[in-house]
Amino acid sequence: MNPSNRQNLVIFIMLGIFAIFLLRLFYVQVIDDSYTLWADQNAIRKVTIYPARGILYDRNRERVVVNRPIYDLMVIPRQLEKGMDTTSFCKLLGIDKTTFVERVNKAKNHSRFKPSLFQAQISVEEFAAIQERLHEFTGFYPEARTVRSYPYQSSAHVLGYIGEVNQRQIEKSAGYYQMGDYIGIGGIELAYEEFLRGKRGVKYQYVDVHNRIVGSYKEGEFDSLAVSGEDLILSLDIELQNYAESLMVNKKGSVVAIEPSTGEILAFVSAPYYDPNLLVGSVRGKNYKILANDENKPMFNRPLQAQYPPGSIFKPIQALIGQQLGLMGPDTRFPCHGGYRMGGHTVKCTHVHDRLNLEESIQFSCNPYYCWAFKTMVDNNPGKSSPEGYGIWRDYIAAFNIGSKTGIDIPNEVKGILPSVNYYNKIHGKRWYANNIISLAIGQGELGITPLQMANVMAIIGNRGWYYRPHLVKQIGDGQGATVKAEYREKISVGIDDQYFDVVLEGMQKVVDAGTARLYGKLDSMAICGKTGTAQNPHGKDHAVYVCFAPRENPRIAIAVIVENSGYGGVWGAPIASLMIEKYLRGGTKRKDLEKRILEAKLL
């Protein structure tokens, strides 16, 4: 082989190898773009900036729900170092090694590159100790979050709570929610989620090999600021609310107070209640279980979901409808005789009265009177058959928002029970009469009404025939023109003329001044209209019901109180309601003995 051939072979081999290198480089640099992703995952960290969730104030601008900072510890599995001092890390976090391995594996299953939650909701105090040494452990970094905190420790059923979104919610949100986001669960937190949550911000940062932040990515071109959620002004008066809760301690039942002129709910108590702080942070799961298994069902939202037969508080409504139909008047009298007899059955009265007029029938809560009244409205409506008569009567009842949802701005409300004409057609055939369904006359039988509806009825009567839908949020945001949702600005009339209210209000005031509520429902120099009731309870002692509003003219507060299994409304309902009226309108009570007796009563 001659020398120049030898030179050419050497050159050929050398350049041949370089050519192979170029092919490889072409593949790595131009064709295969996975390395670009690797490089970005190495050096670019996406930091989510969580918006501050809106704060909740009461009607007097007291902070009812605030945000408390906490830290989530995140892990990026790929960045974990082999020689990591796991023992001291575990000690720092107060976890054992098994937990550590489990969590790391879980994170790895999620993604080796993307951050996963390692330990959630570390308090500021705990985190201070952790932070000092965190830099020793590559792959871990903190993310500042906030959780809810409830300085008044009350109103759990109104406020609801927040928790991390689940997979289904993430999918449904069309990209809004991400793993680890908080979402309202129940109550105001759920109903006003879209206002409260705000908008997440994002920051892209460069990190170096030691996971230190070394600068912002492309001068923040892709960054976005977090937008805080809207604050809400609740209609609740937190002092009144807390007072009502304390009055309901060791009792089962509900208290709902509404400002009749606006439909704003001033107090909303479901007893037994619980401290909303129990459902915050890492203890939530445990506490949730305890609450859910409690036999007194503290998680049950009674004002919205418990239905009771309205009992005697149904009487003022009937009195109004009878007049509006033109079938009754202030001087309409029906016999009592201690009972309304029909066939072999008698609807009894608690007393034996003379023939009472309309006002007295309310004052003395005469059952037979209302049986006659009901019979008059159903059977004796001129030109109408009994089912038709019932249909008309029912429409009036329905206008009082009975048998349908009030539309309150927290979820899971039930509508209650108000049987339709068809319902009875199915049971009794085409021909049936008032006597077939006479229990309705005194608010018993197939009727179900929630405490919220009861309070709303009081607001309607107090307003002399109209109402705003009851609601808990008075104002969204605190900017100019901030207002409530449109459905709460609509004034609704129940179709009863103003003139018919005088006699009913008079009767109801007498209930308080000289009737069944006179012992505990009465206040000095205040005209209060009320009505006691007893909701029959097939399972035990009857439920005490008391509804009222005050003052009689231009009422500022309408209240419904239900104390389950306690007996007479006048004994347990009336004192609670009247103490609340005093609290709200006068700042407190002078009847300390009564207050003490109620606070200490154990009726569970």
Binding site: P3, V10, L22, K82
Partner: protein
């Protein structure tokens, strides 16, 4: 005097010098990117590696000028001395050197480190050229092979003792020199086949490869007319091949060190270890791969700037170029080296003395081998072997020794016509 000076610089090969300058400047800028420090933004900052590299470059240019000013005739004569001195340094470092990363390969003088291995290459090239030139020995003769083998074996042994496998492997490149001087092409073929067999054995299984060879042999014999002759001829290849196969695993398990075994396993794709043995190469590939066609731009490489690639300014300097200048940058660097190599081989061929020619081939072979191993490693085609990229990697020893190696060739070339006179 004035006249002679002019003569010397008149005949130096300016294109080769230009390529040399370009490569050192590319290295300087790449090092600047690789160790870029916000607090020391000046590329002239002597407290940083890019500043120091500038000093090394300056020294090298000065050294180059001095070499070009020397009488070209002295180089051949001093070859045995240079060889002897560099071997002495190489032996001395075993006792007096400072241990870095498990290799006792550096003298430490003040804040500077000197690596004798870098200079032993120079001594060895000169000595081999000296021997072949002075004895006029034909390389096809056994004696010449043995002597050259000895001359190579001594530095290789010393370097192995320093635990610097990479530098020892460089001596394999002498096969090109010897081939040019008359070594049978069979050695190249055999060398190539050996590498293929070794890789296959490591990848597959020694028995699988042996059986495949046996089958090939049987086919060859079956298809030949003169079966006996074909059998013996075939055995000539198959025999050594099978010997290689069975020594590979032994060598792999017993001679190589643990980290070397791991690197090879990672390279062969037997182990996926992005955090341990495979970390360097993986990060290096990310850097190069993410550069794309045009690169991310000067100082824009995230892998480079945020220190994801280790040994960024020395062994993995090619990453910086790949990341910041993309495929275009890669082509440019490989093209510059190709031009330089072709140019050097042409210079070697036009030498009028055997010393000059052997020396020229030696320079080309060593340069090529460094580029081959360094870039091959950075792009994941070769196992991780820490040797510098000539003229580009950060480091004084490498810069100075390559400059001397290169400079002597240029000086020999510029004086070649005087030999004729």
């Amino acid at each position: 005097m004035q006249r002679q000076e002019k003569t010397i610089f008149q005949y130096i090969d300016k294109w080769t010098i230009l390529l040399y300058f370009i490569l050192t400047l590319i290295g300087w800028v790449a090092i600047y990117s690789a160790v870029y420090n916000e607090e020391h933004k000046s590329i002239f900052d002597l407290s940083q590696n890019y500043g120091k590299q500038l000093l090394w470059m300056g020294s090298s240019y000065l050294l180059l000028t001095i070499i070009l000013a020397l009488d070209f005739r002295i180089f051949e004569g001093i070859s045995p001395i240079v060889y002897g001195v560099t071997l002495l340094l190489g032996a001395g470092v075993l006792f007096l050197g400072r241990e870095v990363n498990g290799a006792r390969a550096w003298f430490e003088i003040g804040s500077f480190r000197l690596q004798p291995a870098e200079f032993m290459k120079l001594g060895t090239v000169m000595m081999v050229a000296y021997y072949l030139s002075n004895t006029d020995a034909a390389i096809s003769k056994l004696k010449a092979k043995l002597v050259v083998g000895m001359l190579l074996a001594i530095p290789v042994a010393l370097i192995f003792l320093q635990h610097d496998t990479g530098s020892a492997l460089v001596y394999a490149s002498f096969i090109f020199v010897l081939y040019r001087e008359g070594l049978s092409v069979n050695y190249l073929v055999f060398g190539g086949l050996s590498i293929l067999v070794v890789v296959l054995t490591l990848l597959l299984d020694e028995w699988a490869v042996s059986i495949s060879i046996a089958i090939l042999l049987a086919l060859y014999v079956a298809l030949s007319r003169k079966k006996m002759k074909a059998f013996w001829r075939g055995m000539l290849v198959a025999g050594p091949a099978i010997a290689v196969i069975f020594s590979v695993n032994y060598a792999f398990e017993n001679i190589l060190e643990e980290h070397q075994r791991q690197r090879i396993n990672v390279l062969l794709g037997k182990v996926e270890d992005y955090k341990g043995a495979g970390y360097n190469v993986h990060q290096s590939l990310i850097a190069i791969g993410s550069g794309g066609f045009f690169g991310k731009g000067f100082l824009q490489g995230t892998q480079t700037k945020f220190d994801f690639v280790p040994e960024q300014s020395t062994d993995f300097i090619f990453c910086t170029i790949g990341e910041e200048y993309g495929f275009l940058g890669s082509i440019a660097v490989l093209a510059l080296y190709s031009l330089l190599l072709i140019r050097i081989l042409n210079l070697a061929e036009r030498q009028t003395t055997r010393f000059g020619r052997v020396y020229g081939y030696g320079v080309a072979s060593i340069l090529f081998f460094h580029v081959f191993v360094n870039i091959g490693m950075a792009i994941g085609l070769l196992p991780v072997i820490g040797i510098p990229l000539p003229f580009i990697s950060y480091g004084g020893s490498s810069m100075l020794s390559f400059t001397i190696l290169f400079g002597i060739l240029i000086r020999l070339d510029s004086g070649r016509k005087l030999v004729l006179r």
